[in-house]
């Protein structure tokens, strides 16, 4: 067993942390307040190769693997949840779906500009009546000669309002359902019939964009089918496994930040004639927080190592997402308590972190869905197939 990061990953973290603290953190409060996407940051991330951190260099990526990607998400999550969300939607699910199931030609045509940061990606799945029950989607794709015609409306699409390359899930055979009846497609935003609908006005991650996408008879050529016809649902779930791991990494960053704020505050703030660091109740809060952060760190990077060494990781990725989001929420809640009234003001980053953290328990599969995934994997090992 070896728990060391390799020298390339140490160097990569040094580079990313510097970028995060110099370029991302100074904008975090502003983009939250103004509700704007920091396009300038996304561009800079692309210029130094970070928008394709995990993809092979032959497709314009950096080649740092899932380990490198988790480092990126932890460091971004530590300073700005909105930026982590934009980047996660682009790399972790948008581009990732093409990397995992794309043909050689699709990777050249679509993954390469995404990995280079020249174009932004999005992953389009959720519908008004298909959230946790993702297989209940109604967006239709009907074959017409050499193309498919896509019709339907997708909701809650991160990056949807500006992404140029999106992967979409649609029903191709209503009689078959999730197994065999659903197909994934790569759609370009300039294809006729592709429209951006309403934008969500969110409680947190306000520096990210969440929009409705309307597909009105969008004609997509046959070569843009991602993976095999009828296997889109499985393909999308596979992508989501990766997204869940890296969301856990972003949550690790958020929890780490809450711990750092708390320690800094506890060693300076004096009450009853002594710094908070000398109060046992604060010590216990910080000890609990630090323990959970370390447990999460071990889980996240172990699963990243499993991905990079091609081991099965579905159940553990669900744990990363579920446990990570809950650890982050708890840590930020505790940090707020330690900071008292000042933590509740907008002069401190904690209230923003508090609003930002909540969504992590919901998106990329609610924590309830994660528990179903974990339990069904456990029971399957004991010969029980749990019923939905």
């Amino acid at each position: 067993m070896d728990f060391h990061f390799s020298s390339e990953h140490v160097a990569l973290r040094r580079m990313i942390r510097e970028f995060a603290e110099n370029e991302v953190e100074p904008l975090a409060a502003e983009i939250d307040r103004e509700g704007r996407v920091p396009f300038e940051t996304l561009k800079k991330l692309g210029q130094i190769g970070l928008m394709g951190v995990c993809f092979p260099q032959e497709y314009g990526g950096m080649g740092a693997g899932e380990m490198g990607y988790c480092i990126l998400m932890e460091e971004l999550g530590r300073v700005c949840t909105s930026t982590a969300t934009n980047v996660g939607a682009h790399i972790g699910i948008g581009a990732m779906s093409i990397y995992l199931d794309g043909t050689e030609e699709q990777k050249r045509k679509y993954l390469t500009p995404l990995a280079r940061g020249e174009k932004v990606g999005a992953f389009v799945l959720t519908e008004a009546d298909a959230g946790s029950d993702a297989a209940a989607i109604r967006t239709r794709a009907v074959r017409e000669g050499d193309s498919w015609i896509i019709d339907g409306t997708k909701t809650f699409n991160t990056n949807g309002s500006f992404a140029e390359i999106v992967t979409v899930l649609a029903v191709t055979d209503p009689t078959l359902g999730a197994r065999g009846g659903i197909t994934a497609f790569i759609v370009e935003s300039d294809m006729p019939g592709f429209q951006v609908g309403t934008h969500e006005n969110k409680m947190g991650i306000r520096g990210s964009s969440t929009a409705e996408l309307i597909f009105e008879e969008v004609r997509v050529p046959q070569e843009n089918v991602l993976g095999k016809v009828g296997e889109g649902f499985v393909s999308f779930m596979k992508t989501l496994d990766m997204g869940r791991l890296t969301l856990g990494a972003a949550c690790l960053g958020g929890a780490q930040a809450a711990l750092e704020w708390s320690v800094r505050w506890a060693r300076t703030r004096c009450q009853f004639g002594a710094e908070l660091a000398h109060k046992q109740e604060v010590q216990w809060m910080i000890a609990n927080m630090a323990t959970e952060v370390e447990a999460l760190r071990s889980l996240v990077y172990r699963v990243a190592w499993m991905v990079d060494t091609a081991q099965p990781f579905t159940q553990l990725a669900a744990m990363c997402k579920m446990y990570g989001s809950e650890v982050a929420s708890r840590a930020i809640d505790t940090a707020l308590q330690i900071h008292g009234g000042l933590g509740f003001t907008r002069d401190f980053p904690i209230e923003r972190a508090f609003r930002d953290a909540r969504i992590a328990e919901i998106f990329e599969g609610t924590n309830e869905v994660q528990r179903i995934v974990i339990a069904s994997n456990i029971f399957r090992e004991h010969g029980v197939r749990i019923r939905p």
Partner: protein, 262 residues
């Protein structure tokens, strides 16, 4: 045009806690970063390369435990790096390094411009540039804020008193760059991964030379002897002025008169 950058490493100050009462410096994380002024020197070299055809070669400013900072420089855009190793090297001070580096510059076949940081973050040494210029018999400009090169001349902006002076020198010349002079660029991601993994073109850009092949053992003898270290005297606390604006101004003026004897 060949530009040589001499750079070194320093413990990341963020991994260090100083406890004056215990009289100790605690190293929580032993992580090294590029000396900030050396990093500015590298940036100055890369900006020259952005403007005209140039080869940027990096050399270490002090004995290094490993070649990490050289890899960082290669990832950031340097073309070639030479790691200097050897038994007698560990104790080398700036005087010894200047002799060694002069020999390394010869071995490289000379250069048009050598850049290094004007000072170091840890020991505050600013001798290396001067000593290297002396060893090579080159002119020397200290504390540059900006550089402009043409084929055979160099224009250097440096801070002098309350303003700036523009100096001109003929090449070759040795220039030390002030810390904070330039905003350094980030490494390129793929280059970084390749140089650390030892793959791709960039991996061949890093070589190791043995100090013993460049100079004899005497040349590596240090001038400096380290006898110990202690904390500098504690800084005196200032005086907080209170009251109205005029009152505060008066007490500030009084304090200045009393203490600084303005």
């Amino acid at each position: 045009m060949r530009v040589i950058v001499v750079l070194g490493h320093v413990l990341d100050p963020r991994g260090i806690a100083v406890n004056r009462r215990a009289g100790r410096v605690f190293i929580n994380r032993r992580e090294y970063i590029l000396q900030p002024a050396d990093r500015c020197a590298l940036e100055a070299a890369l900006r020259i390369k952005d403007e005209m055809p140039a080869e940027v070669v990096v050399l270490p400013r002090s004995p290094l435990p490993d070649d990490d900072v050289l890899r960082q420089a290669l990832a950031t855009g340097a073309d070639r790096a030479v790691y200097l190793a050897g038994d007698g090297l560990a104790a080398a001070d700036d005087a010894a390094m200047a002799r060694l580096l002069a020999a390394a510059v010869e071995r490289l076949g000379g250069a048009d411009l050598i850049l290094t940081g004007a000072t170091t973050l840890d020991t505050g040494q600013g001798q290396l540039g001067l000593r290297l210029a002396e060893a090579l018999g080159w002119p020397h400009v200290a504390d540059a804020w900006a550089l402009k090169t043409s084929d055979d001349r160099l224009e250097v902006v440096r801070q002098e008193g309350a303003g700036y002076a523009v100096l001109e020198a003929a090449l070759p010349v040795m220039v030390t760059v002030a810390p904070g002079a330039l905003e350094p660029r980030y490494p390129d991601g793929a280059r970084l991964i390749n140089i650390y993994r030892g793959q791709g073109e960039v991996a061949a850009a890093l070589e190791t030379w043995d100090a013993a092949d460049l100079v004899d053992a005497d040349a590596l003898q240090p001038l400096l002897e380290r006898r110990g270290q202690e904390f500098p005297p504690e800084r005196e606390r200032g005086v907080r002025a209170s009251g109205g604006l005029e009152e505060m101004a008066r007490s500030a003026a009084d304090a200045l008169r009393r203490q600084v004897r303005v």
